[in-house]
Subunit: 134 residues, 2 copies
DNA sequence: CTACACCCTGTACCATACTACAGAGTCAAG
DNA sequence: CTTGACTCTGTAGTATGGTACAGGGTGTAG
């Protein structure tokens, strides 16, 4: 089991070398031991750690939240219920963002529909709407 | 029609004084004339300009996009169809973001459902999923 | 032995949309 | 005339998630 260089870790994790160092600075991955010349020497396990980070990012977690998830994972007192609760909070969060985006979309759809009604007129309903009183 | 001070403009527009200056630096509002002591003196119309910015932001446009909308508005060659096309691009954009969020949500919902199935087990399906191979 | 890829630290930079000063000048009320 | 609120410029900081050097040292293949 030879230790991995930072470049090998980056490749296997599907991220950049700079990003690995960035995650280290952010406390998402711990500082690995160094070779006598100062090179970082990673155990294989770090790759799954990076995969964890990537998957969690895909699920909408921020790096700050992922840091918490990672420390939860290491804590033997963490229960499945703890993780579930985090996931549920994030679900609520995502739902709120979806609702907000849907509101934007609905307004825009209404405005473009109004455009269709008066293709010939010079005044544009979109510009008019944007000038409305609060 | 007395000119408005930057503070009055900020109050009426519902934004901060620093933000008014920031918008000026960003080219979203033009530089107003100055009093003999160097104070900015705004015409009333600037307030609707700021309202325009605020409403467009609420619709999901970035400041950069809003800057374009504002210059389109001033250009007499701009047609309602131009505005409609911008709005449609933004709608597509918002829909993509909604789809992406929904994907995240679905994955999280599945994971929390898996949690329910094995409340007694020690291993957590969420942590397991995050450790999966790419 | 030389070339070239890789690694090191530290710092600065990208976009986004502000926000917060410092240090100075101005305006209006009492 | 003083006091306090307001304004000025310019710069720097906030959060987010990286990316890009510069200017060195290291490791290995031919």
């Amino acid at each position: 089991m030879k230790p991995l260089s930072i470049g090998q870790v980056a490749d296997r994790g599907g991220i950049g070398v700079e990003t690995v160092r960035f995650y280290e600075r952010q406390g998402l991955i711990e500082e690995p031991p160094r070779s006598k010349s100062g090179y970082r020497e990673y155990p294989e396990i770090i790759v799954s750690r990076i995969r964890f980070i990537r998957r969690a990012k895909e699920l909408g977690f921020t790096l700050k939240e992922i840091k918490e998830l990672l420390s939860l994972r290491l804590d033997p007192a963490t229960t499945c219920a703890d993780m579930k609760s985090r996931a549920e909070t994030k679900i609520a969060d995502i739902e709120a963002r979806i609702r907000s985006l849907r509101k934007m979309k609905d307004s825009l759809v209404k405005l473009t529909a109004a455009c269709n009604d008066r293709v010939t007129a010079n005044e544009c309903p979109i510009l008019e709407a944007l000038d409305q009183e609060p």
